[in-house]
Amino acid sequence: QQQVKQSPQSLIVQKGGISIINCAYENTAFDYFPWYQQFPGKGPALLIAIRPDVSEKKEGRFTISFNKSAKQFSLHIMDSQPGDSATYFCAASKRASGSRLTFGEGTQLTVNP
């Protein structure tokens, strides 16, 4: 059972553009939603996270938008840069059962110069 669905699988954006990656979840018990960035040969790095009591969280060029009623959340990367080229994973967890994360399938982002 795929509890977190992520789209698109791959995304190509021009430098300076906006990158948008979407995720949808099924389990309404999820209450923590992080995004991870992974470069080739490296482990995933925590990028930004949100809890369902807010609809948006912004850190620098990265913004999470959260829609609790639709069970969807998305990552927006403003002013995308070639250095942002990486694989991005959304995830979800139920804090009551620890932070065991269920991951989306990942999105490979390429930002062209």
């Binding site: 490296k42 482990g43 620890g98 932070s99 994360l101």
Partner: protein, 111 residues
Amino acid sequence: GAGVSQSPSNKVTEKGKDVELRCDPISGHTALYWYRQSLGQGLEFLIYFQGNSAPDKSGLPSDRFSAERTGGSVSTLTIQRTQQEDSAVYLCASSLMDSVFFGPGTRLTVL
């Protein structure tokens, strides 16, 4: 740096051999996780340790896989009688509260 460390970084073994992968979590983190990432794929949960509680082993794919965590710190993931389908990157992570931090992974290749 005080991040999660894993060893070895790469391991090549022959089918049928046993392997041990080591994880040193961030000091003070009570939770420790093992995930597996096959080439170009997402992250598959394997096992979760939280403090002194019984580990959540629900993600282990077969009884050839086992893990232990000694003294609430270092963890070892053991794969017995390795198969070619075990080839993947094995990622360890630790957390204290919500934020989960990953190590660099061990790339396992089974020939």
